[in-house]
Amino acid sequence: MLKQMEGSRAVAEAIALCRPEVICAYPISPQTHIVEALGEFVKDGSLAPCEFINVESEFAAMSVAIGSSAAGARTYTATASQGLLFMAEAVYNASGLGLPIVMTVANRSIGAPINIWNDHSDALSQRDSGWLQIFAETNQEALDLHIQAFRLAEELSLPIMVCMDGFILTHAYERVDMPTQEQVDAYLPKYEPRQVLDPAEPVSIGAMVGPEAFMEVRYLAHAKQMDALRLIPEYAAEFKKVFGRDSGGLVHSYRTEEADTIVVAMGSVLGTIKDVVDEMREAGHRIGVLGITLFRPFPIVQVREALRRAKRVVVLEKSMAVGLGGILATNVGMALAAKPIDVYTVVAGLGGRPITMRSLHALFRRAEKNDLDPVTFLDLNHSLIAKQMERERAKRRSGPAAEAMLRDVGVVAAKLA
């Protein structure tokens, strides 16, 4: 059924259709609207039976999820930013124990300086946590990916983060096609845990493993993720059969036919990039887009295949590896190792900095001329940086950098768009 609604609400309704049994919630922007809606569904009885638990921290949220999942319940939680970092120990633990928890990460930057706006720093900081990570481009995809995530997580016995851009998607009102309960029930079988805490068949979960088997345990985690590369397209295909639309999968190419330049990106920014590419194609540029839906496991073969004929690749990412450059770019670079293709890293949109079509047009044109540094920071205010560097050179106690720069830009800082 077509509905005009907020992204968070759409995701919440989709999750409710998945019949989760335990939901734990701790408020952090910008994921709050999702759990608020779910809390409402549980409270009014429309989602039942389901335990909705208001926990005291994200660490507790993931821990409660670990407990309920281990006890055989379909379990969901959501978080973002600092919250994801605060639960990090439990995030690793959930995957280490092989518990199929589904968690929405409403992507948001990480402080300091504290900032509530969107980028991918939070999710990508957990790229090696052993979780599957899927990035939604649109609200419809976010909704669909959650349904697929439960199926995938439970089949693999691995937890999955469904990443959607904070505010840009979570708070955006768009038209979505909300599936029916029958459709979801047809697609998502009842949860049959691989292991469960049950007095009828007692096991000890979470043993201490020493050097004699630890490597093997870690290898198996890797092998299991690699197996997801096979399953995900199958589940996406099946999804299309039931729901009638393409959603999920590994990567998605857009107008890459005979493209010399291919822009690689994840999440909602793909929409903007596609608009720019459409305009540039109109103008005769041989440019295309590769959207990465699945970041972990990284679909290395599919990325390589998609970029094989390009002369250059521009990886535009809302994250950065401080002291190195890009995170996504590094991963793409690994797919293109030994290929004579230039890979440009573009760090963009950190902390909610708008990525405008105008900036992208300029960026891609420079790329076509190979006029980009290996690592480019899009729309960086160089004079602001120069002033701050000057201050720091002049005075050891130059004061807090963030506050000083805010003074430089004036009170209109929040109106950058």
Binding site: G98, S204, V217
Partner: protein
């Protein structure tokens, strides 16, 4: 369940890890000799019969008791209970009232008519038992249990020896005595009353394979006291003996209003208390030393004092007149002996009763080859056999410690030796366990349960009647008292070792079967030994 590798494990699989290899010390279950058992002259296994009494199985308790002693109702009244003196519970609160429980069991047996049973086949051997006092009855009983025919010859018209003719009724009611003797007769002991044996060897010729002598010590010792013709000096044994024949006031001994008893033993106390009950207004015990030195048991002295008997300490009788006596005061010298002081005093006295000890009548032993006596006592070996093969002796005639309990012990010991001797063997007693001392125990585990006070007859009736002074316990009290036993040195299956082992390395075998250590897992921490209430576990170094 298709479990994730290494992270998820099958339940209880640590059994594969044998932690027993860590052990440097290993626990061992031991049995130790309880101090009560060690102290019992009759060789009773007190702890074992208390164990049964604790669960309310009084018949089983009585049967365990009577494996060693056939006279519990008697013993529960007249035994001086050295067991209680040795009882470890005195270090926790007060000794277990073993004697009271024994009496309860004895009375219960009489009330319920429990009879002895023996599964031993008849051996065809006949043993002559001379004397039906506690030694003779005990010997006859044990011999019967072993399948031998015991035939008691008793000179007196009634059986019981000193139990009848020496112990006053107020301490041992005669129906109790009669009941326990009757049970022995019903068990198969042949009792021939008024059958005095004049010559042991001659009597043995009448178809006996062995003989046990238990004639007691009935001849009163005398002391020289200058006395006028009118003075009345009699001995305590005669007084007590005459009490037994008395059927009504006219036959009772005539002692007068003022009676002086001379001596400091239990007999002196008995006769003084008897005199009081016969109507004496004054009963005075004259004793040459102090209360601390007095051989009579303190509780008996205390009871006598309660009944109005007075005691003149540090005094000797120098002469006896018609209606008074002259007493010389004594003083203890540096080594504790009484020495005359030359100070005299006259005390009014209608009669003087001498309670200065007894000798045995050894006339029947004349011309027994090899049989030796020393200071009036028959000399015996560890198995109570005299120097003449096949002739055994016990009780007052064979030892200086003259109590019913010692005599019962003698009878048992002799019976075992006789049994062995009849088979051409020598009885060897099994080795004794190490003593269960209080230091080996963990007294924490014994709940706070003070000794039960037994009812005592009111003082007026004690001064005028021969009713039993000390009452018995009712069932509730007896059960409580039995359950105060700490089972020193012997596992009573409290499950502590089983419970406190952090490694589940103690195997519980089930009621009555105790426990086993599982040395596959026992790490040798020693907690079981430390927390064993009764000290029945010890730690020994591992050999390797």
């Amino acid at each position: 369940m298709d479990k994730p590798f290494a992270i998820t494990l099958d339940p209880g699989s640590s059994l594969a890890n044998h932690t027993g290899s860590w052990r440097t010390f290993r626990p061992l279950y031991v049995d130790r000799l309880p101090p009560c058992n060690a102290a019992c002259p009759a060789g009773e296994n007190i702890q074992s019969w208390l164990y049964h009494a604790e669960s309310g199985d009084y018949e089983k308790a009585w049967r365990a008791l009577t494996e060693n002693n056939p006279l519990p109702a008697i013993m529960g009244r007249v035994c001086y209970h050295p067991c209680e003196g040795a009882c470890n519970r005195q270090h926790v609160d007060a000794a277990v009232g073993i004697n009271a429980v024994e009496r309860f069991l004895g009375d219960e047996a009489i009330r319920r008519g429990w009879r002895f049973e023996s599964s031993a086949a008849a051996t065809g051997k006949r043993v002559l038992v001379i004397g039906s006092g506690p030694a003779g009855l005990s010997a006859a009983y044990h011999l019967t249990r072993m399948g031998h025919q015991a035939v008691i010859h008793e000179a007196a018209p009634l059986a019981g020896g000193m139990m009848r003719y020496g112990i006053p009724k107020y301490r041992l009611p005669r129906d109790v005595l009669d009941a326990e003797i009757r049970r022995l007769v019903e068990f198969g002991v042949e009792l021939r009353l008024q059958s005095k044996v004049m010559n042991v060897l001659a009597a043995m010729q009448e178809g006996f394979d062995a003989v046990f002598l238990g004639v007691g010590a009935h001849i009163a010792k005398r002391a020289y006291i200058p006395a006028g013709d009118a003075s009345k000096i009699i001995d305590a044994i005669s007084v007590l003996h005459d009490m037994e024949g008395a059927q009504g006031d006219e036959l009772r001994p005539m002692l007068g209003r003022r009676v002086v008893v001379y001596g400091g033993g239990n007999t002196a106390i008995d006769v003084a208390r008897t005199a009081k009950r016969l109507g004496a207004e004054e009963a005075v015990i004259v004793y040459r030393r102090t209360r601390e030195k007095m051989p009579a048991h303190d509780f008996e002295v205390e009871e006598a004092l309660q009944e109005g008997i007075s005691i003149k300490w540090l005094s000797t009788i120098k002469e006896a007149g018609e209606d008074d006596i002259m007493v010389e005061k004594m003083a203890l010298d540096a080594s504790g002996f009484p020495q005359p002081t030359g100070e005299y005093e006259r005390i009014p006295a209608d009669s003087v009763v001498l309670a200065l000890g007894q000798d045995a009548d050894l006339g029947l032993l004349a011309n027994v080859p090899g049989l030796a006596t020393d200071k009036g006592l028959v000399q015996v070996d560890a198995g109570m056999m005299t120097g003449h093969p096949g002739v055994f002796a016990g009780g007052d005639m064979a030892g200086n410690e003259r109590t019913v309990t010692v005599a019962v012990g003698h009878g048992k010991r002799a019976a075992r030796a006789i049994d062995a001797w009849l088979k051409g063997e020598t009885y060897v007693s099994p080795p004794k366990h190490e003593l269960a001392t209080f230091e080996r125990m963990n007294p924490w585990y014994y709940s706070d349960a003070p000794k039960t006070v037994r009812p005592v007859l009111d003082i007026i009736r004690r001064q005028s009647t021969f009713e039993e002074v000390l009452g018995g316990l009712d069932e509730g009290n007896a059960l409580f008292e039995a359950r105060r036993c700490m089972s020193c040195g012997n596992c009573f299956e409290c499950d502590n070792c089983y419970g406190v082992c952090p490694d589940n390395a103690v195997i519980k075998l089930g009621p009555g079967k105790r426990f086993l250590f599982n040395f596959d897992y026992c790490k040798g921490c020693g907690m079981c030994a430390t927390e064993c209430p009764c000290g029945a576990i010890k730690m020994v170094p591992e050999e390797n």
